[in-house]
């Protein structure tokens, strides 16, 4: 059962499994509460300031939960910002603390070096092209596909861990007037409060896009089996796969 390296020899180590599901809960809570908060002002701006008296960069064509926002709809949605804001910041704390624990773990355990950083031979465009080409041609999976992440998967995971999550935290913190009083560069470097809010929205969108692709890949690879592997750590048919290479799964979920 030589798998993604971890001390227990299972497919996903206990730390990865626990932090994965904590992140799932926190991220879904952030997504729902974030969308609710956007409904109270579905207009986005660039620069320091922006309000209904200034021109928006773009608007989302939905009704608002505030009568003061001109949306073109007569309908005003119910105000859900109270619990949404409480939940958003509680879930943000959960996500950040989980993220810190995960970062320390992957660095300390070698998971980052062995399973997430692309091996030197894969650090070229050709490696990416090959993965897409194989996928497009429905090529039979190669030896090791079920046991290790390919270069595209690794890049996607690394982008989420080291680019999108830090960015969404930074742009979120830049919306805090108190935090900005202590660290003004956090918001000034983004071009102002409204730019930070707009960027926070787009980075959240990028994370949502990752979630959708991730789910699609998991479904393609076998939703039940992949999900059970992330819950129990065991890969039901791993032994069989090793004995009968032909039955190797096509691709591991992104």
């Amino acid at each position: 059962m030589a798998h993604l390296s971890n001390p227990e020899g299972s497919r996903h180590s206990a730390v990865v499994r626990i932090t994965h599901w904590l992140t799932v809960i926190a991220f879904l809570a952030l997504l729902v509460s974030g969308a609710e908060i956007v409904i109270s002002h579905p207009r986005f701006y660039w620069g320091e300031i922006g309000n209904v008296n200034t021109a928006p960069l773009f608007t989302i064509p939905i009704p608002s939960s505030r009568a003061t926002v001109p949306t073109g709809y007569r309908y005003v949605m119910p105000d859900q910002n109270g619990w949404s804001r409480y939940l958003h910041f509680q879930a943000a704390w959960a996500a950040v603390l989980t993220g810190i624990a995960y970062m320390l773990y992957i660095w300390w355990s070698g998971h980052l070096r062995k399973d997430l950083l692309p091996p030197p031979r894969d650090r070229r465009w050709r490696a990416y092209r090959d993965v897409f080409a194989r996928s497009l041609h429905h090529a039979p999976p190669q030896e090791g596909d079920a046991r290790s992440y390919n270069v595209v998967q690794r890049t996607a995971y690394l982008s989420v861990i080291f680019v999108l999550f830090p960015l969404v935290i930074w742009t979120g913190l830049a919306l805090s007037p108190a935090f900005n009083s202590a660290v003004p560069i956090a918001v000034n470097a983004l071009g102002g409060r409204q730019s930070a809010r707009t960027l926070h929205f787009f980075v959240s969108g990028a994370l949502l896009l990752f979630l959708i692709v991730h789910l699609a890949m998991v479904i393609q690879a076998g939703f039940k089996k992949r999900t059970m592997a992330m819950i129990t750590g065991r890969d039901g048919e791993a032994h069989e796969s090793m004995e009968h290479p032909k039955s190797l799964e096509p691709q591991e979920g992104l």
């Binding site: 109270s40 320091e48 300031i49 804001r85 910041f89 704390w93 959960a94 007037p177 108190a178 009083s181």
Partner: protein, 252 residues
Amino acid sequence: MKPLSRRRLITTGIAATAGVTGLTAAAHIAERYGLIPPDHTGLYGPGETLTYASQRLLTKHSLAREFPRHMISKSPFANETIPPGSAPKPHQTTGFSDWRLEVNGMVAHPASLSLADLKALPFRSQITEVACEEGWSYIAEWIGTPLIEVLNAVGVLPQARYVVYFSIQNDWWDSIDMADALHPQTLLTWGMNDGDLPVSFGGPLRMRVPRQLGYKSVKFITRLAVTDSLKPFGKGLGSAAPEGGYAWYAGI
């Protein structure tokens, strides 16, 4: 499952004890240094406490960003309009000459100040941003008497921990801790952009707390109460905001 060995039992026991002791100690320290918000109870208490405690440690003396004059918004947004006949409108006809600010609670000399009394105290002008929890914002110049000047004038007792402020609108009141109350940018604002503070923006008197979201900057202020506990006010959650489902601390 592995059978529970004695060693495992002992290490688990020690870890659990250390955890509980650590949490209890943390709670004591947090309480002592005023790091627990009044709305710390309930489902979202942990998140609120983490936010308030960490920001209080990080931002005790930090100043909200101030902006150059050319960044003042040409069309600031007043938000809610005041229903005619209600709130401060009747006072407007007399030029707010009868407007009073009561200051009581844990102070040496309770006072009732007119706007002229307030303006006789040292004042300050600052160009800061109003950021609404909904997402919009604008920048204006705010001119007013720092709350600390009023508190110094009436003599705050040493056990004071919060300043509660009330509006002419009974359902809108709020409170801030002493870190924000004594902060130089916390203004009892009576001027805006080189003129009187318009009624739509909270005139004649608005509390401006620029290190927190707009809803802490309550309009039409009529009374201040200095206190060591928020329990006796409203439902004891610190302000009208948590009673309506919103967080007491709005520095986010």
